[in-house]
């Protein structure tokens, strides 16, 4: 080997020339890089799928599920009643319109509020939302029952549909409480009141079921069995069917009537 070929400069030059990927490897490397570059460009050109529709759909599903769970939970625990009371309390807290005047009375520890038309107005003329004079007693009683709950006040001149359901539920709850506390007679009286005020109410099925339970609990097994048969005939697929069917079988009535709700 010559001195020139082993000089530091020559060694470095030779190393730079040879110490690198082969031509084939270089071509392969570049092909890989070019493919990656092409793939990225194609990815850039492709419209990015927007997440917004999916997020909206997910939000809708969540709301729907929450709403259904909430409804089921509220019905199971009686929160519907509470919520409706809260709404009623909220409504009561709202300012009363100028054209109406509010009269608050305290009678027998019951606080209730009744809004009446001004005296100069056609108070005696029933409107679509007002009850006829003959129904005044029932309406007043309904308001009183609703007002039995602390802090609750109801405008009885225009009982909204929600308020009627609220009143129905309040009565049924009262009956249920009486039944649970071993006072089936009191429960029957409350149910009678319910039947009187809400003959075509939205909770007749619940009322009839509770009545069967109350009759059986009161020892009126024959009547209870008869009404149970009527109930089962009318509502063969009722949620309460099993409970009603077994209510008078052995004369034993569980105090836990939550199933009937």
């Amino acid at each position: 080997m010559t001195d020139e070929s082993t000089s530091a400069r020559a060694l470095i030059a030779a190393y730079k020339s040879c110490a690198r990927p082969s031509a084939a490897a270089e071509a392969q490397l570049w092909a890989t890089l070019a493919a990656a570059e092409r793939a990225e460009k194609q990815r850039d050109r492709r419209p990015t799928p927007s997440l917004a529709p999916w997020l909206a759909l997910a939000a809708c599903l969540l709301l729907l599920a929450a709403w259904q769970l909430d409804l089921a939970g509220m019905f199971a625990s009686g929160h519907v009643l509470k919520d409706m009371r809260d709404q009623a309390a909220y409504d009561a807290a709202e300012p009363v319109p100028q054209e109406a005047r509010t009269r608050e009375e305290a009678a027998g520890g019951v606080r209730w509020r009744e809004t009446v038309r001004p005296e100069s107005g056609p108070a005696a003329v029933p409107t679509g939302r007002q009850r006829p004079a003959g129904a005044a007693r029932g309406a007043q009683r309904t308001s009183k029952v609703v007002a039995d709950e602390p802090g609750l006040a109801t405008d009885s001149d225009a009982v909204a549909d929600g308020d009627r359901v609220l009143a129905e539920m309040a009565l049924l709850q009262e009956a249920q409480a009486a039944l649970r506390s071993g006072q089936p007679a009191a429960a029957l009286r409350v149910l009678e009141r319910h039947a009187q005020d809400f003959a075509a109410g939205s909770m007749t099925e619940e009322r009839q079921a509770l009545r069967v339970l109350a009759l059986c609990a009161a020892g009126e097994v024959a009547r209870g069995a008869d009404e149970a048969a009527v109930f089962l005939g009318a509502h063969p697929r009722s949620t309460y069917a099993a409970r009603v069917a077994s209510a008078c079988l052995d004369g034993h009535v569980s105090k836990d009537t939550s199933e009937a709700r």
Binding site: M1, S5, T6, A19, P21, A23, L29, T32, L33
Partner: protein, 193 residues
């Protein structure tokens, strides 16, 4: 000094050369593939794996090229990427690399057009580099092989400028001694057998 494809450029030169602020991947690849490959080798990567390292490095370059700041040294930037790739591979393949280094394969066959003397000189250089410790090897490679400036090397290796000079001086001295030993060594050519 004529600039070959492997001639490293400072960022300013590179920008002027390609007539734009950001170099393209193809240009970086064409100019610096050899540099990256040799840096990988200087970190102890076997020759048959250096291609893979180079590929990984340029894939990173492909993804990160838009983040490259023209005020920085491109070779120093590439050095940093190469070092990271090598370190990652070392972590992932420590056992395998140990096994490979124990049975170091012969150098990959080079292009047939390279003369025997050239290939032999390159092999001597590789032998010399392998004999250096990594600190000196890297400084020597970046300075005397890749042509980086001392400040670029200091930036790339994150060492003081004085350390760059001292390591380079020591490496050059060793190369001179190695070269003298080569001249004294009897050389066997293939047709001498």
């Amino acid at each position: 000094m004529s600039k070959t494809l492997d001639t490293p450029l400072t960022s300013a030169e590179f920008a002027a050369d390609v007539d734009c602020g950001a170099p393209s991947l193809r240009e970086v690849f064409a100019r610096h593939l050899g540099t990256v490959w040799r840096i990988a080798r200087a970190f102890g990567v076997p020759a048959d794996e250096a291609d893979d390292v180079a590929q990984e490095v340029f894939l990173v370059v492909h993804r990160k090229l838009h983040t490259f700041q023209p005020s920085r040294s491109l070779p120093a930037w590439l050095f940093g990427i190469t070092r990271n790739v090598v370190l990652m591979r070392r972590r992932a393949h420590t056992r395998r690399e140990r096994r490979l280094s124990a049975v170091e394969p012969p150098p990959a066959p080079r292009e047939p057009e390279a003369s025997f003397e050239l290939r032999q000189a390159a092999a001597f250089m590789q032998e010399f580099l392998d004999g250096l410790d990594e600190d000196k090897r890297l400084v020597f490679l970046l300075a005397d092989v890749e042509g980086m400036t001392a400040s670029e090397i200091a930036e790339a290796l994150e060492i003081p400028l004085g350390t760059v000079f001292s390591r380079l001086r020591a490496a050059r001295l060793k190369l001179e001694q190695f070269s003298q030993r080569l001249r004294a060594r009897p050389v066997r050519r293939p047709h001498d057998r």
